[in-house]
């Protein structure tokens, strides 16, 4: 996440003053908020909870400095609002390549170009319906994945279990084709 603004001592003091008029109390609250933000980002599964926490607090400080935020209300609630925005932005960032870090103890080829090329070749040999089904089955992640798979099952006039079985039957020869292709390519 790009951070073009750095926290100045003045901005930091303004942030502390916003948390509490008592300097000591403000320091305690700042640390408490920071720890909660780290917990928040960790539980949401972000890769860099500390960085995102700093980014959230920096944004609050920046807003306070520019005078766009008033000093009333519960600061912690406002900070959480910023943190949720930061979280949302970070989730849009590209994820690390899952292929590079596969938790497999046995060596397998990890050349992305080769893997994708083989997959494309084998996908091309599927019927249009099967290709479309597989593409959509794997197009989403998280909660959206569940939704789209339910919709697919409805379109196919079937239940989720039958859909899974259909996908499994399509994938079996596809997988064989995929590894045959890899073996051929690496043998050259």
């Amino acid at each position: 996440m790009k951070n073009r603004w750095t926290l100045t001592p003045d901005a930091f003091n303004r942030l502390l003053a916003w948390l509490s008029s008592d300097r000591e109390e403000a320091g305690r609250k700042y640390e408490e908020v920071r720890q909660k933000l780290i917990l928040f980002f960790t539980k949401r599964g972000h890769l860099e909870p500390e960085d995102l926490t700093d980014e959230s607090l920096n944004r609050v400080a920046k807003k306070l400095e520019s005078g766009e935020m008033n000093y009333s209300g519960d600061p912690r609630r406002d900070i959480m609002g910023f943190a949720k925005h930061v979280s949302q932005e970070d989730r849009k960032e590209p994820r690390p390549d899952p292929i590079e870090d596969l938790p497999v103890p046995y060596p397998l080829p990890r050349d992305r170009e080769l893997l994708f090329r083989c997959l494309e070749q084998c996908m091309a040999s599927l019927s249009e319906h099967s290709r479309n089904l597989v593409s959509r089955y794997y197009q989403e992640e998280g909660s959206k994945k569940i939704l789209i798979r339910q919709l697919l099952a409805d379109e196919e006039n079937t239940g989720m279990q039958t859909l899974r079985t259909r996908i499994c039957r399509i994938l079996k020869p596809l997988r064989e084709c995929f590894f045959t292709c890899i073996e051929k390519e690496t043998a050259n």
Binding site: T42, I99, R110, Q139, Q150, M160
Partner: protein, 277 residues
């Protein structure tokens, strides 16, 4: 802790990122304000990590499952890249013909209600069915750091002589020359300690495969993520008796694993007078 806590399965979905986003707030609010609830969430997190390790150490042992995992990762990686141009979903097909005569808003609300209900039910239902698969794909920081820690511990344990084990240092002179070395071993030898110099200044993790008698046969043993120390790889391989051993050492991430460095050595009984190094 109050009795109206979210169910364990809901927290699990939250941690695995499969819970619909609109349900996050309630959990997060409680998480940040209720210490006991935070501990409860932590305990579920620990369970997920336990399951992850079980999957890593047991479920993924068969090569066929590893191949499936690689294939599924490629499939996902490839197909999710196309999200910029998503394959359209025909929502209208979800509505029965009779409902199309209803006012548009009623149909939309009806569809949304059905969608929400089915999603909620399905989320709970699929959570159980997909649990293991989801866990395998969840690469949380904690799991990774724990795994790294365990690997480090295993690695350091491996470098220590084990009690009751007749380990033998094969020696650092074993090089990629194509020559075959012959080493004497007593009949109670169970494992061999290999020290292998690596010549790269910055070395990535290495993988090692061991074959016995047949260089093209099934790997007798293998290890991934080997880190060199002082430009030397140290690992312990099982001893399967006298015969020809073939080692293939390659860099992790190198697709042409067959092109890694190959070493071979033969073992004989220690009393063999014809033995030579």
């Amino acid at each position: 802790m109050s009795s109206n806590l979210p169910e364990e399965s809901v927290i699990r979905e939250y941690l695995l990122g499969t819970l619909p986003e609109q349900d996050w707030d309630a959990i997060e609010e409680k998480l940040l304000s209720d210490k006991e609830f935070a501990d409860f969430v932590d305990s579920i997190e620990d369970e997920i990590i336990e399951e992850y390790l079980t999957i890593h150490n047991h479920f993924l042992r068969p090569r066929e499952r590893q191949r499936k995992l690689l294939f599924a990762s490629v499939l996902r990686s490839k197909l999710q890249k196309k999200q910029q141009v998503p394959v359209p979903v025909d929502f209208s097909r979800r509505l029965p013909t009779a409902r199309t005569a209803r006012p548009y808003w009623a149909a939309v609300i009806g569809a949304a209600a059905v969608l929400l209900l089915s999603t909620a039910l399905l989320a709970v239902y699929t959570a159980g069915l997909h649990r293991n698969l989801e866990v395998a794909k969840t690469r949380t920081n904690n799991a990774e750091s724990m795994l790294a820690q365990i690997k480090t511990q295993m690695s350091s344990l491996q470098n220590e002589p084990r009690p009751g084990e007749n380990s033998v240092d094969i020696a650092a002179e074993l090089r990629d020359t194509g020559d075959s070395y012959r080493h004497p071993f007593t009949s109670d030898t169970t494992s061999l300690r290999v020290r292998l110099p690596v010549d790269e200044p910055i070395s990535p993790p290495y993988s090692v495969e061991l074959r016995f008698r047949d260089p093209a046969g099934k790997a007798l043993w293998w290890q991934d993520n080997l880190q060199p120390e002082a430009r030397t790889l140290v690992f312990v391989i099982p001893y399967s008796g006298p015969g020809q051993y073939y080692l293939n050492v390659f860099r992790r991430g190198n697709p042409a694993s067959a092109s890694g460095k190959k070493y071979q050595f033969a073992t004989e009984q220690a009393h063999d007078p014809a033995l030579k190094h």
